[in-house]
Symmetry: C2
Subunit: 501 residues, 2 copies
């Protein structure tokens, strides 16, 4: 077999060989059944090593062009359909999409958009939201910034993949207020902190891997991890956070790729991890060499204290990937979050950013940078925190007065009351009953890797609605729980309403 | 074994069983070595089917809690590390990130950010860009819109996952000018059309799958597909687009999940697929039931004709997923693209959007909607097209006058000249030589699934630089090619400069 080999070319020799043989097979010069020369012979004839020929043949096998047949050697395989014999006009079949979808897609739920969709209907009172009160968005400041700095071509052009540098500086300033000293270069801007969860999922996980989460945990994190085909191991929580006795047993059992945690005003439980627990968690991570993905969207919504110290700030050995966002304390619509991660992780995130959305919206990065630089953020927190605290107190008081059978722990910050329903109240009936009266909330099951586990829990948001509507929605919720628990779940309830999830 | 089974509960019975046994194992009630009751016995005792017990045991096996041992039955496995015996203080090991990264991550290249990084340096003349001329961005219109409609809480709040409805309406209007009739509901807004490539990759591909692309093709598409572990099959092109004879052979050989094509002013070749080819491609797709992912970023940059008719507009059977963007004709910084896809695909994309960036930046969607609604886009195209045409003509003329050994086909639209270098010019040396003189371009190899294939090609962008700098950069490029081809690659060139890719 006559091959042209160029040892100076950038293409490795084995690929040059594979490519030439491939050409001859595809052109029909080497028909099906043709036996390629034995590796040794081809190597001698072309003065190349046998390993090189072997790699070339392996390449051709991988392409399905040849096959190793015992006793015969390396044989050109049959072309399944002859190139030049199209059938007569056939009816076009409708596309069957489902067999084409990757099987991991089947595990994804539509809970998020359903909840968002319901919440977007104006008349509905949403206790299901995951955002703050739109009436408190700092509109005036942003209008002023836009007046002072109208759009230029810089606002509309590309920005660097890792983020607009001045914003990275502003965020590093912001992180100082959280007692985490990082330079601008250690910060990467993301399209919401959720993108960091997705990037971590894609960088570390595939089918067969394991990842550890608190149980319950953030709905979208579960979905992200699910989409990789990884096994999601839930660790129960107590009042100090994730239970480390269970965690230790599960780390040694599953060898997880990383541990996902929301240490501050946890979603949905509202629990804040104690300092002792943070230190012990880090120690465990060091001992088993497992990274920690620390998600901190709610840390600034702290009613009785400063922003709790990030685990990342305690980590002297670079085990922690930190995520945060402005979606909770400011507003969610500009999709701006960030990550602070060890360099090898940052590099992978950068590669992923390049093949997903390239960079965060430039105009918004400039706007938010200006806002932070003008020093508006601290004052904004001082304005919203007393109001959110008031809403939390009002919600808690109402629940305690009216319905002693709904249990919850009083959260010191964040957006949610995590409530246990009386065992006799069926979640689906409660959702339907509230829904009929124009009130929605988030059923607990969506926060569990194994959804049935959250059957008797609900998450109530107290930040989004105006306080009067919050009270009104809670009254509907409370009365519905009462009604269903009195019935003891034995009598039927109209099931006409569409379930929310 | 005493089990509590609730047939009314939402949790399937087998999971109820698995969960109870799991609890007893983790608590130590069932120690390592304990033999679970035979499936048949447990089934009879609890009046459930043997299949149910079998599924419960399989679940426990999957969790690593029990093991099937021949001759003994289902046995509780040993806990690898006792929960209550932490070792004495050990030195903390540095985290070894690389073994933790998913192996598919290793295949990703950093070419994109390198090229962007080089292009962002002001003194550099970039023929490597993939964007239009920032001096032509419609700044005045956008400033006017911001003055007329200052930011409100709507601009800063969530928008629906599938996009801001008025913008979807405006895009459906825009699509009418491309002779594709779609309703707003059939359009989903994306964070750049590239996000649609990524979503298609994630929805359809995993390791072992195949995907077909034109060869050469869009760099980030290759990277996206690579990140799934799929096999990327390149189809050579002729002047009418993808070669269908090769395509047909490869479809029947590889059974690809979909065919990715850029039919209009293709990146990097500038080729526009002929109408006959479009129809034949669709027929082939129908015959083999393979979907087409049609990427149309450049269709509006048409110098001698209307926007070529999208393949999607010829598709009566819902086989085509269409992608487009405003990043080329308007500006790239707001990251706004869209997809028009059959419903099952749209649903999957919606799920993926929910776990990546949730929705596109609301403020930008409102801005762009206003711009389109005000009817500014058509006038903008009429302004920029003659200028880009002039730049194309200037670039082509210069190349023809000065260097007859650089071959290219004159493109009828788009952003690029795709040039074949004399065989004697080594890419790396040319990159270094141009780089030393402050000129960058994109080497051809990044556009090939098998990078070595593009060794003798380069992509030159003519839209980004001002026309004088474009000429200046091209002269550097042309002279460098001359110099290296005269040397015939035999004499050395300083290799001090950092290669761009």
């Amino acid at each position: 077999m006559n091959l042209t080999i160029n040892r100076e070319a950038a293409t490795p020799v084995y690929l040059q060989i594979a490519s030439q043989i491939k050409g001859q097979i595809l052109s029909g010069n080497l028909p099906a059944g043709f036996i390629l020369p034995p590796e040794r012979k081809l190597a001698e004839f072309n003065k190349i090593s046998r390993t090189t020929v072997n790699k070339a043949y392996e390449e051709l096998k991988a392409l399905g062009l040849v096959d190793a047949q015992t006793g015969r050697g390396t044989v050109v395989t049959e072309q399944k359909v002859p190139v030049s014999a199209p059938k007569k006009q056939q009816p076009v079949l409708p596309m069957s999409w489902y067999p084409l979808f990757d099987k991991r897609m089947a595990s994804l739920n539509d809970a998020v958009s359903e909840i968002m969709y319901m919440g977007n209907q104006n008349r509905v009172i949403s206790l299901a939201a995951g955002i703050g009160d739109p009436d408190l968005y700092p509109i005036a400041d942003f209008q002023r910034i836009q007046r002072e700095q109208p759009i230029t071509s810089t606002h509309l052009n590309f920005s660097p993949v890792e983020g607009y540098y001045p914003l990275r500086e502003s965020i590093s300033q912001l992180m100082e207020s959280r007692n985490l000293a990082v330079t601008a270069k250690e910060i990467m801007i993301l399209s919401g902190s959720m993108q960091g969860i997705d990037f971590a999922a894609r960088a570390f996980l595939s089918a067969g891997d394991a990842v550890i989460v608190e149980e319950p945990t953030f709905l979208q994190a579960i979905e992200c991890f699910r989409a990789t085909g990884a096994k999601i191991i839930g660790i129960p929580m107590d009042q100090e956070g994730m239970r480390l006795d269970v965690l230790e047993a599960q780390i040694s059992r599953y060898k997880p790729k990383f541990i996902y945690t929301i240490p501050n005003f946890h979603n949905p439980t509202g629990i804040t991890m104690s300092m002792a627990r943070r230190k012990a968690l880090l120690k465990l991570a060091y001992r088993f060499q497992v990274p920690i993905l620390e998600d901190d969207p709610y840390g600034d919504i702290a009613f009785d204290q400063e922003h709790p110290l990030p685990i990342k700030a305690l980590d002297a050995y670079g085990y922690v990937i930190y995520l945060s966002t402005l979606s909770k304390a400011l507003f969610p619509g500009l999709r701006i979050g960030w990550t602070i991660a060890p360099e090898p992780v940052m590099k992978k995130f950068l590669l992923l950013k390049q093949i997903t959305d390239l960079h965060v919206n430039t105009d918004s990065q400039i706007l938010v940078d200006r806002y932070l630089r003008d020093g508006c953020y601290g004052g904004h927190l001082m304005k919203i925190l007393p109001l959110y605290r008031k809403k939390r107190d009002a919600a808690a008081e109402l629940l305690r007065q009216e319905q002693s059978s709904i249990h919850f722990d009083f959260p010191a910050g964040g957006f949610y009351l995590w409530c246990r329903l009386p065992y006799s109240v069926p979640q689906k009936k409660l959702l339907a009953l509230c829904g009929e009266q124009g009130v929605i909330y988030t059923p607990g099951n969506v926060f569990y890797p194994q959804e049935s586990d959250g059957e008797h829990w609900v998450r109530l948001n107290y930040t989004y609605e105006r306080i009067d509507r919050l009270r009104q929605g809670l009254m509907v919720f409370i009365k519905s729980v009462k009604k269903l628990s009195e019935w003891n779940g034995t009598r039927g309830v109209s099931t006409g309403a569409r379930p929310i999830v």
